[in-house]
Symmetry: D2
Subunit: 304 residues, 4 copies
């Protein structure tokens, strides 16, 4: 008998990658918000798992409809706000839904400055990075996250790497001048009290991205770890709304290509960009005095 | 001052996606093992983050070299065994390394049965699924995982979905005969005592995959949740080595295409397979009497 | 004025990547056909380009509907047959449509042999390769193609590479024993007279795939070019229906990893599989006496 | 016997996707050029196919080395120029190499304007589009191409689609206000006489991209075909160096989501972005008086 041998453990379910595009056309100068949204619910829906009793299953199709209905009724505004509206709705509308995880990616568009009649309603994907957001409700607490991914940066100098242990399997030569490149994935958790007071999420995102780029550029790097830490520190020191930030930074290797064997000098000018394997540095920077919040990060892709 | 405002939080680092191919050619009939391996270390390496002091950074390049050196010296055998060797090596060789996460994907090859001279050393990628493994060392404990991903299955009947709440935003019609398809990602955690006794990991993998396929086929499904649970139950009941299994199962929607408007009957014969959005069902099944093991799953992509 | 400065050149249009799944359920033992279909039309539709006059534009949405309607009305049978039905329909139904290109990928499923009640209607994606087909109508002629892609194969010995010119930029060492791996993309053109007589396309596909695998395995290779040629030759010699075959074969490099520097022997046992760059060998084998047929291959991805 | 039954048809071979990064550091303000390059040679190398005689095979590894050696010796300058140098080298250095196809993608980086010490050598991937270039040498003629891909654009109004035939399978409603989005892939062929005179390829690329964006924005569209034609016309009228331009434009469908059934108005504000299937419009615009140049486009991905 199943009851004797196994039990149902953690679970959640919902609709993933809902591709929502919201146009605001109150004036001839349109605005566009382009998001990929995932909604997942938690609560006691064990009947569905144990016996196929779906009386507590808010269908994933219904969750999808809700995303579009809410985009029409409330607008988006910011991904953090919009996910919060979804979280409110599902946890308040169904007594057995006591939590969930709502995630968004927001895709960037820039206005095409044509000078002509299409300028007000024409856009080009800028693609410099994708904005992330998440709302997690667990054990009666709400946790709100911002983030960024695919922010790809490179320094052609100002990066060193030396002083690491020489082990039996160490062959990497030390260097005091290398190309350093990474594609930043970062998630920051907002302080609950700041969320309660209200945050200009869009302004904050622009500010954080600017800070990340500036710190990446200006830190003279002895290790990608050091750069990561300084980027996190800058964000936390500048934005009191942020409790902590987690980063995953692949070290996108650029190897000096050996053309000296052909009699051609190569003083840090000709590189081969390698795909795999790659270094992968993951770390978090936490505001002093802020306690760990493991629940907040539960099943959220923190490091990837 | 940084010391006052921020602190370093959880972190790990290493080399990701090392593409190792190991040929065993002790006899003319070669064997092939093809893996993508990620090695990441944890321990007090805060100097690297705080000041670029790399004296405790076992370089990611060194970790890569170690993978290949160990493949030569010890062979692979099974991904679980091989990751365990790496975990032993790094935690025993460096006093400040007290944990880490080692992951593998194993890619399947079948022998080409040509009947000719090439048969002994020629292979074709079978691609039915990718095998997963992981070893996590945290707080002095070792946790070993097996798994599978991209096991894509479909039932053309024997699946119903009805009885869910009719809410304000519900439009999905109920059905007692639908196509159900998913791409199974599953990870199972081995019982530490079974690991200590020794496990035939390769035989177990074949057995688990067979069980997953058979249960998917034979359960008359009232919900993907129910199918998931029954697949997990079958695995745990059959294999005493397994403590728990976690699944992520996208509901790969196949919608009946409306050709009745063209006067053409469609009794469950013509479908459009949709990409996005998709349902996403995640759940775990745990052996009765086994305690939760949150540490074991830390930062391991359990549900994705 | 535009009329003076530019003219409209070659063009076609249609619906791409229609995801059709066709279940045959005439008996309890179901059959599944899973295809991705692209339909594109050619003809004088210049009004649409020059002035937005769509009176000759069979909407891409209509082309999509036609795919599903025909799957219901006629079944699939084989991708070659099904694309032929679409080609007939569009060129016969609209006097200004005088040609087009119809392409299909067919995804493989194997039956799950569960021994239980689900066996008759449960499938697993086998994923060893994807079958290709195309029908091109141009200048009143119809050309029919079969094909395969992502047939990934590897030999762990039986491959040499030496005797190439030593140029100013040559550093590759010669070898008489290397790992050779490729992912075969091949397209074959059927002889029009064989098409007219009727071809068992499904049986032929199985036969060609078997031949490709066997020849890859059994040819002792001095160059991937040689292997390619022998694979093409085998196909043409075995199947009188085929006029010519074109292949694109990436040389998926497996480099011996240098672990001798760690005192570990590596006699062709430990390799790193590299992603990029890769060799890319493209070639065609043509039946003696068959004339070139450039029109047939027009805009068809022959080498990719 | 093979000699009787088959012959070798068209072929070429080389190294694909060489990831070259070239830093120019003549001054503290570095410049970066980031390219993915494919080099393929044509000529009589039939010995390699027929018997594995590699005496005429300039190894693909050698072709890769040449890319890096030339980047060191000559710099890049523009992808068109750099590919031209490679074409010269290979066709002049080996008497049996009488042609080939050289292709490049150039990835865009913007300077990070940090205001700090890193500004001169720090970059962020802008990702708005990827620049393309190709040089084809065939039958003693050289053909030079520029291009762009992944230039993703969207209009939230100013697009209509109506007047198409109502056929048996037509269900699409006509519209005089829809969202139109596409991801432009375009390739333009330079006039040989303009190439001979010398072209500012980088300035031209910026100019063409600006023109494409402006025309996309400003044309009031009755069909994507019309927009394509007007974009091509603008380019040819503005840049006398260009003989013709070929476009592939997927119609990235944005469907109005039906939320009226929930009592929520949706006047072109809430859309679902769909992945597949998609419309696919391909067309070319040719300068008046320019003859067709089929050889130039041979095996070049023109429409894809």
């Amino acid at each position: 008998m199943s009851a004797d041998t196994v039990r149902l453990g953690p679970n959640k379910y919902g609709k993933a990658e809902v591709r929502l595009v919201r146009i605001t056309r109150d004036t001839p100068r349109h605005e566009i918000e382009d998001l990929t949204i995932t909604s997942q619910l938690r609560g006691d829906v064990s009947g569905s798992f144990l016996s196929g009793d779906n009386s507590r299953i808010v269908a994933t199709d219904t969750q999808k409809n809700t995303v579009f209905a809410f985009a029409g009724r409330h607008g988006v505004g910011s991904p953090e706000r919009f996910l919060g509206l979804l979280a409110d709705h599902f946890t308040e509308s169904f007594e057995w839904i006591d939590g969930g995880l709502w995630q968004a990616e927001q895709h960037e568009w820039a206005r095409i400055l044509s000078g002509g009649p299409g300028e007000d309603h024409s856009f080009v994907r800028s693609g410099q990075a994708t904005r992330l957001a998440a709302v997690q409700v667990v054990a009666g607490e709400r946790h709100v996250f911002g983030g960024v991914k695919d922010l790809t940066v490179l320094k052609s100098t100002g990066s060193e790497f030396w002083g690491y242990p020489a082990t039996e399997f160490t062959t990497l030569p030390e260097t005091n001048d290398r190309v350093m490149a990474t594609s930043v994935t970062g998630r920051w958790r907002y302080l609950p009290e700041a969320v309660a007071r209200g945050i200009d999420y869009n302004g904050l995102f622009d500010d954080v991205r600017r800070l990340l780029l500036e710190r990446f550029a200006d830190v003279h790097s002895l290790a990608l770890q050091q750069t990561l830490y300084e980027m996190g520190r800058a964000v936390i020191e500048a934005r009191p709304e942020i409790a902590e930030v987690r980063f995953a930074m692949p070290n996108k290797h650029h190897f000096v290509y050996d053309i000296a064997r052909f009699g051609i000098e190569n003083e840090g000018e000709v590189f081969i960009a390698d795909d795999r394997p790659y270094g992968l540095i993951e770390g978090s920077v936490i505001r002093a005095g802020v306690a760990d919040a493991d629940d907040a990060w539960r099943e959220l892709p923190s490091f990837v």
